[in-house]
Symmetry: C2
Subunit: 377 residues, 2 copies
């Protein structure tokens, strides 16, 4: 288990006493490749059963830079296909789908009374009292209605989202960058009134991860493991990138297999229930699925595609008549849940664009077609 804010660095991990931790956690210090052992996954075959059913499926998957497509219906895998560099038993980065997974941990902690969504962030993190999050509530942070000066401009080197990338080790650091994400979050300033407008700000999720660390007394990595991953019988461990401070990149750094992500969706469909009991509180799932403040999301690109859409608890809720809601990440990562047909769709992609309205529209149409097709079979 990792310790929060451990003192192990690239310069001391080979020395006692730091080596005690470092030798068990080399992956957190130096990039590592997986020496795949198979463990049975290699014998599984793909199942591209929708090929003849969805018109032009192959060309549509190709033109949308698909890396993986997995479809579950009634809990069973009905379609599984990999492209390019991908394959069974390989982890793919989830980008902002990571946000939606982290929020499930919040749901558990809310139910246990460790987190109150109506409380201010500064109640848990006094360190943030002076900044944008001082008087923002946990719920506002979950719903991305915090009024914070933050540019989610993936292409601009002076945008806050790129500073975060650099601090997290996703890009080379520049002189003057904050020492770590904790320091970065303290720099964020107010920009208006909380709770009024939906603003997609990745840092919200990192604030929530820090809250999880504070109320559980363990690192966010261990929080994800003990409160989610170890409870869902995954086929593989997941991973999350970590920066030298030990902070995990909550807003986008999780990687897992397509099957494992699909099974999180299946868990949502089952109202969070497993054979060993509830994992995600049913009430939290219902609250998520019901959606957030549509008015706050007025004018967003998301509402141009989903007129009744909203963002709730770090999930995108379409407001369509099928009750569809989903997790999404830049460059085309999706966990799509269609409760009306009990269909789960995971799509990993590597579009050139980070986000684009055309892709939001394209995938909403594709996923609806798939859900209808598998439920008609």
């Amino acid at each position: 288990m990792t310790s929060v804010n451990n003192d192990v660095t690239l310069e001391n991990w080979q020395q006692a006493p730091y080596s005690r931790w470092g030798f068990w956690h080399l992956e957190e210090l130096v990039p590592c490749a997986t020496i795949a052992g198979g463990q049975g996954l290699a014998d599984r075959t793909t199942l591209p059963s929708l090929a003849g059913i969805i018109p032009d499926l192959d060309s549509r998957l190709e033109e949308s830079f698909t890396d993986a497509l997995v479809v579950l219906h009634g809990g069973e895998v009905v379609h599984e296909q990999y492209f390019g560099e991908g394959g069974i038993g390989q982890r793919h980065v989830l980008m902002s789908v990571s946000k939606s997974l982290g929020a499930l941990v919040i749901g558990r902690l809310v139910q246990r009374g460790l987190i109150d969504p109506a409380q201010s962030i500064s109640h848990y993190l006094p360190e943030l009292s002076d900044g944008a999050y001082g008087d923002a509530t946990v719920q506002q942070t979950l719903d991305m209605t915090v009024a914070v000066r933050y540019r989610e401009e993936y292409w601009a080197s002076d945008s806050e989202v790129q500073v975060q990338d650099r601090v997290a080790g996703w890009r080379e650091r520049l002189d003057g960058d904050p020492a770590d994400t904790y320091e970065f979050l303290k720099t964020l300033k107010h920009d208006g009134t909380h709770g009024q407008v939906f603003r997609y700000v990745s840092a919200n999720t990192d604030v929530l991860a820090w809250v999880i660390e504070r109320v559980t007394g363990q690192s966010y990595v261990d929080g994800l493991s003990t409160e989610l991953w170890s409870l869902i019988s995954p086929e593989l461990d997941a991973t999350i990138t970590v920066e030298p401070s030990g902070f995990a990149f909550a807003n986008g750094g999780i990687a897992c297999t397509a099957r494992d992500l699909a099974n999180v969706g299946a868990l949502m469909l089952r109202n969070g229930m497993t054979a060993d009991g509830p994992v995600i509180p049913a009430q939290w799932i219902a609250d998520t699925q019901r959606g957030g403040d549509r008015q706050a999301a007025a004018g967003s690109v998301f509402q141009q595609v989903h007129p009744n859409g909203s963002y709730r608890n770090q999930w995108w809720v379409t407001g369509d008549d099928r009750g569809s809601y989903y997790a999404a990440g830049i460059h085309g990562q999706f966990l799509w849940i269609d409760p009306s047909t009990q269909t789960i769709i995971v799509k990993f992609s590597s579009w050139p664009e980070s986000i684009a309205e055309k892709w939001t529209r394209f995938h909403a149409a594709l996923f609806e077609e798939i859900a209808l097709a598998v439920s008609a079979k």
Copy 2:
């Protein structure tokens, strides 16, 4: 699967077309923590059955900074114990035990005729023709009798072994360091005549890994996976650190569970045979176990502890009357094989010292006691 010398960097991995590879291989670009899923390992309990049998076992393990101890006898786990930060299902860095695992891949490729131990390194790697390895043979490289100017001084910042650490990402880079390990290996110069004196030089293993890449046309990571790890039914994937060039740190960068390493030892005892057929050629194992040139190792610290000792095919061969041989890494990593009692001992440690004669002696005595005790039970 990774491609050898891929063009993906920290600066471009989020952009098409590099993202096609980068999104499946984030762990190779940014340090990652494992979000443990359990997958059944968590239910296993430790089995410290030697506690009452080996005198003062607990205090001896404590004073030697033990992180894990696993003992197999007749293929069965008879002792399993973790300390400090360790536990079941956790990977620990192997340091130079990594060398011994890589050599097993060489053994397979020799049997298939892809590598001839009598050939020169430059036969496979013309890039190294001008340096120390130009006229060194594969066998000399395996046995560490290459006459190369190289200081294996772990504590000296200007030693070649520290340059390698920096190039591999194990320490912060310094100005003027070679761009990657391939470039570094080209800088190594002759220092005497090959084949005469045993000199423990970590770079030898990286040269061998490069030969494996050349003759198989795949990365060393994939070589380890397809030619070893995927064949031994491990409980977990292993990992290996990678540098930005994509080269894996062959001489010391593998991490795996103690059980998985012990099972490699069990495979050696079974002459490389599994239920699905041979994995390591029996002839290669016999050649390793027979040992190397004792005269070449005269005067070494190893021979001070094991007077008949030698180094063969990247393994330490004690020359004792029990036929014991082993893989070892700095700071106390061991895979000890005692054929006379069919005993395998894995010990992970985090000693303050990198190497010390006292520890070589201490562990030889401890492991012999353990082998005798378990075979007498």
